[in-house]
Symmetry: C2
Subunit: 218 residues, 2 copies
DNA sequence: GTCTATAGGACGATAGAC
DNA sequence: GTCTATCGTCCTATAGAC
């Protein structure tokens, strides 16, 4: 009944919406390239418009401010990071193997996406604070890792202290230590052969040794 | 004979030189405050002049560009860092205690001087590359740590592999992992009680355990 | 060494025509 | 949604008087 009228109006709207989403995605892609060239804090609306071959005012039809671009990138990063962790954990058995697989996937993603990784984990843009909404995925990442530690403890592969806040903190310091040194001193290196990233398995072993079931370390 | 003439000219020159050095030191102090408030990349000549209550052109009598200010800060940071490491190592016995003491001193300094630490170890200022001259002290820091590892191996406190490049790389990843997480997520915390920094002794123990004399780890 | 004045440019963001 | 034009602000750096 109302189908023709609806189609007449809605199909063009959908096409426009899709085209708009594509443009937004392209803007974010170019923003990452700029931040890769000029530093994570080097993104500007002017430069972004230049890279898109449009005029600055046109950009404001998609993002109300440069901060909004940062926030959209932050959200994209958190969501990719979460998806990568899920995928990494899904393809290994519960317990220690799953935890290792997840952390390795996170490390590989960070090395392959240094700009987003820095934006997410080191806050290098003065004045930018992610919106609570964009931050949401980060909580889930932590929850997944916490669960991984609990499973490894339940399986008897790690001592109970590994599932404490201290265990999680130590694990993050070890994991991000490798990544931080890689990004600062060996950004061109790849995951397998990088000066620092090649130590990631070793670092995980150190964590496991510290919290091996029966170990006395608190 | 020429003494009076020399004194008439040289004494005022020394006073001026000393006053100039004091002014330069004050400029650098204020620059650190600005970078602490506005982010490490937030230093500008205009803002620096405002903070000094002088006009921008006057600043150029002391530093030819904003980059020169960054470089002077970088040099100051490297030299302080080296001095702190020397002092830390000097007040402990050779071998493992000296290595621990040196690394702890470095960690304390970084936590107390987050701006300089970020400038030295994470290069957060787009476009700034330290001059080779300003970088010089960094080599000496590495040499001291290398020597500390060698001594600990010679004393039988660590296995020979600890003194390898891989050992040094692992040690730096562990040390800077704690610092990196601290600066990003707990910058207000102090060394003893900080969420991450309180784990510094633990990560040193992990390193020692990995390379304990007789351990099979490569 | 200090200042005033200024050149010359980049940036964020908006108004309003089309 | 695109553009031209523009405002206001901030910046680096220099010229030249005192």
């Amino acid at each position: 009944m109302t189908a023709p009228a609806e189609r007449d109006k809605r199909v063009p709207l959908d096409r426009r919406a899709r085209r708009r989403a594509e443009t937004i995605a392209e803007i974010l892609d170019r923003a990452v390239v700029i931040m890769s060239d000029d530093g994570v804090a080097g993104l500007t609306m002017s430069g972004l418009a230049r890279a898109m071959s449009i005029q600055p005012p046109s950009l404001y039809k998609y993002f109300p401010s440069v901060n909004a671009v940062h926030d959209a990138l932050y959200r994209r990063g958190q969501e990719e990071n979460l998806a990568v962790l899920r995928a990494g954990m899904a393809c290994a058995e519960p317990g220690l193997p799953r935890l290792r697989s997840g952390l390795t996937a996170l490390g590989r993603w960070a090395v392959a996406n240094p700009v987003l990784a820095q934006l997410l984990f080191w806050r290098p843009v003065p004045g930018f604070r992610p919106s609570p909404d964009a931050f949401a995925a980060a909580d889930e990442v932590v929850e997944l890792l916490r669960g991984g530690l609990r499973d490894a403890v339940a399986a008897g592969q790690l001592g109970p202290a590994a599932a404490s806040e201290r265990g999680l903190t130590l694990l993050s310091a070890l994991h991000f230590g490798v990544l931080s040194q890689h990004l600062a001193n060996d950004p061109g290196g790849d995951w397998e052969t990088g000066t620092y990233t090649s130590l990631h398995p070793t670092v995980l072993e150190l964590f496991e040794a510290a919290f091996r079931a029966g170990a006395s370390r608190d």
